[in-house]
């Protein structure tokens, strides 16, 4: 078993009467990159700040490297944080920004500068040490922020929506850089985002949050293939949520009747759009067809149910009004709460 870097035990954070984080527990292994994913206001940032020590829990324990740090202020924890706004000190040069942490922690000035130089080299900012942050581009500023956060070899590196200030086109590149850096330095990292695609791309594991609670924890594949709830299924990728009932080992909804190993009663099942196949000449109707370049997307009506279906562009195209037959492999059907 790998070493635990961070552990939350029944952590609650209240602001007055509002509860931002509502009794969550999880642990993060060393060297892992974990994302907090969820809609805005679900408590991701608060959880991150609880790790950093910028907030103290109202209840429960926060442990870093096995030590209970619940009552320790940020300055007494060993964390690095990359802020959404980068938070570079405008009155210090790039080098002074990066050397700030080591200097504060008592490293001799010359030594601190050497370390800062080394890290700036690593993140590809050599030669810009004497500039002020205002003289850098957005991407360069972000790299300074990262350099500043990792120069002290923190127990954990925290990112709060690091791509939100990056040009849409560059996001893919920057997130690959972050992932690469994290692996190269073997850092434990926690990454906050509300973008599921970003989360799927960078994470070892994802913590999906909803209204201050954890909806599900798992690897990207686990979450996509075996969502534990309709919320998770819907939030991670696209999903068709089908209300139906199970009778005599079969799931019934509209004209569907699929064999399934579940007890009788009302249930909700989900199925991914790309898992539904369409054959011409059925009783369902295509309501709309959209050409998306790499694939076709159809909205198909079967009785009072509507299905989102995604098909490769190589298949014969259908148009609105066509009659089709919905074909679903029962193994792709996932029952959720």
């Amino acid at each position: 078993m790998t070493e635990t870097a961070i552990e939350f035990v029944d952590v609650v954070k209240r602001y007055g009467s509002a509860t931002a984080v509502d009794r969550i527990s999880f642990s993060i292994a060393r060297g892992e990159l974990v994302t907090f994913l969820g809609p805005s206001g679900c408590g991701k940032t608060t959880s991150l700040r609880l790790i950093a020590g910028l907030e103290l829990p109202s209840e429960g324990q926060v442990k870093i490297a096995g030590r209970d740090v619940s009552r320790d202020p940020a300055s007494e924890r060993n964390v690095g944080m990359v802020f959404q706004s980068y938070a570079l000190f405008p009155h210090m040069t790039v080098l002074e920004n990066v050397a700030y942490g080591p200097t504060i922690r008592g490293v001799a000035k010359a030594e601190a500068r050497d370390r800062a130089h080394a890290i700036l080299d690593q993140v590809g900012l050599a030669g810009l040490e004497a500039r002020l942050p205002s003289e850098l581009s957005g991407g360069q500023q972000q790299r300074v922020a990262v350099a500043r956060a990792i120069v002290q070899q923190p127990d954990v590196l925290l990112f709060d929506e690091p791509l939100s200030n990056v040009d849409a086109k560059l996001r893919r590149k920057v997130r690959a850089e972050i992932r690469d850096l994290q692996q190269r330095f073997g850092l434990t990292a926690v990454y906050v985002t509300h973008d599921q695609e970003e989360a799927l791309a960078v994470s070892d594991r994802i913590v999906v949050m909803k209204m201050g609670q954890i909806a599900q924890i798992g690897t990207p594949a686990e979450l996509y293939e075996r969502p534990a709830s309709a919320f998770v299924a819907d939030f991670i990728g696209d999903a068709n949520l089908i209300e139906g009932r199970v009778e005599a080992g079969k799931f019934h909804a509209a004209h569907l009747a699929l064999p399934i190993g579940a007890e009788s009663g009302k249930v909700t099942a989900t199925i991914r759009p790309e898992r539904i196949r369409l054959a011409p000449g059925g009783i369902a109707t295509i309501l709309s067809a959209s050409y998306l370049g790499s694939r076709m997307e159809y909205v198909v009506q079967d009785e009072d149910l509507e299905f989102l279906v995604s098909r490769p562009i190589s298949e014969p195209r259908l148009t609105a009004g066509d009659k089709v037959d919905l074909q679903i492999d029962p193994a792709d059907l996932i029952l959720v709460r």
Partner: protein, 728 residues
Amino acid sequence: MARISLTSDRAGAAWLGLLALSLTALPWYKGAGLLAGPAASALAEALSGRGWFWPLIAAALALGAVALTRGWQVSRLALGLTLAAAFLYVWQGFAVGLRGPSSDWVGGVFARAAEGQTGLGWGGFLAGVALVGLLSDLVAARGFCRGERFASFCITAIVALLTTFVFFPILKLGLAAFVDTEGNLALATFWARLSAPDLWGVACFTGGGRCGVVVNTVVLGVLSATLATALGLALALLVNRTDFRMKRALRAISILPIITPPFVVGVAIILLFGRTGLVTGFVADLMEVRPTRWVYGLPGILIAQVLAFAPVTFLVLLSTLEAINPTLEEASRTLGARAMTTFRTVTWPLLRPGLAAAFLLAFIESLADFGNPIVLGGGYEVLSVKIFFAVVGARYDLGNAATLAMILLALTLIAFWLQMRWMGKKSYVTVTGKSDAGLAAPLPPILKIGVLAVVLPWVLFTLAVYIIIAVGGFVTDVGRWDLTPTLGHLSTAFRFEFAETGLELYGSAWDSMITTLWVAGIAAPLTTLVGILTAWLVARQDFAGRRAFEFGTMLSFAIPGTVVGVSYVAAFNVPPVDITGTAAILIICFIFRNMPVGMRAGLAALAQIDKSMEEASQTMGAGGGTTLRRVVLPLIRPAVFTALVYSFVTAMTAVSAVIFLVSARHNMATAYIMGRVEAGEYALAIAYSAVLMIVMILCVVVIQFLVGTRKLGRRQELQGRTAAEPAE
């Protein structure tokens, strides 16, 4: 539960050590030098029979035992013991007064209590500091201020200081109102004082006789605030709504009253309009009427106050006018309304909240004003002056002064409360940020003429006053139009010689000038420190009771200087905090009176700075203090500069509280000037004032040089990012 061992919690250990030191090794009472050492410590005093120290010492011992044997636990026990020690510390100070025990049972238990005790000295002071430190450390360990020790200490310390130097004196003064001259509780006396006819009389309205002092004060306040608001409005309209392009000059003039020493404007008015005044004489000759003393009383005070407060109302109304979105007025005019109709139906209603704010501000200032009424009042008595004479005059009556002070305080707080309510509503004036399109509607011609008719006399008058201040001290007698240049007045005040023994200062004003510079020089940085710290705590720390904390600091600003002065007299010339007659009381008084200005400047500056920069600093290992010093202060330098300059200049020119606190050893410039004015030595007073103004300007230049106002270049840098730029 988290355990912090004594060795890891160095701060806690240090505070505990300081507590032990202050109880056993330092002289507890004042007067004894530090060298008196252990022999005069609380422990030694307790051993020699002053038994009222034992409970405190016992609590401290128990605290030490808990810390050493069970570790410095985050337990209720340590916190409880610290609170108990703090209570016992305060109790021992009040249980035994200067002349004996404060209650019979204390006298019964401790025989030596009959001897009484003097004020706290080094030991007593440091014990208080240590207890504040311990308390802040323990609550931080329990999560107060997110565990930030520095912030926790600052909050605890500032609360302790505000309690001691703002609320305790006011409370003590309030109690004094209910006590008769023998020191017994006497509600009847209080009622008699409160209902005295010379307070509430309205005979001046019904014809014949004078009004009561409260009525006088309110009438003066209302008239003065109305006129000052009207003048301020005229100035603001002139700057914002006409092609008059002297905005900078007007802003500069509006700073003048701040650096003008008190009394001197009053003196200038006397020299112009007094019975033998220049204008009076001129008019009397012209019209062949007999000169009168009309200016003494309400008219004179009114003129002086309007002159002093108009700049404030001007600034308030100017910002209100600038906030009005011109498109609103444009819309009205495109709908066909005439300029006058637009002004009446659109501009004026939008101005009303600003007018109310300006009025209340001027009203509060008028209530607090002491310098003008005492010079120009004649027979017209106002509360601040009456309070002064009840304490300083021949008929010393603290109870009466306290009653009057409470009335003045109540009036001020009502106005302050109204103002807070008005400002709090954030009214409908504020329209999105900048006025994006269009120009402000020019003033209708009739109004423009009206505005000029108000402003021009004001400009002439201000000029006349300041010309008199500029030349009055350097000519033989400006009041009699004897303009022979002379350095005689200056030499009376500031004569010096280079004798064999070195520089010899003979002038009568040197003492007060040097004291003033010292006191202001020490008070200004401390005031700035407390003000900026408070702003930082309020803006950046999330702690229980933050609202109350903020309100408390602002409230201390609302208390009129005269009330602060008497309250200090009531509170601090007896133990446990016996500091009357020292320079310290002056410095402390300035710190807590002026700190809210530094706080406001700090709050405004901090609002411009992204909080995450400080959080970044914290995650990199910097505590609150380091973050403040290395990240925050460099970024809010202009606010630090403002706070320093303001607190320095105010300390140099303040009078209403100071006048109660000066002593023969520590006289202040303003008190000296007041003495000269009372003696009729106007030229000397003016000469001194002129010198004072020059010294202040020089000092401001020095401060500017020391602090600098290094600009950070582009504005957005202050936000800590340049996010919007496309990357690479």
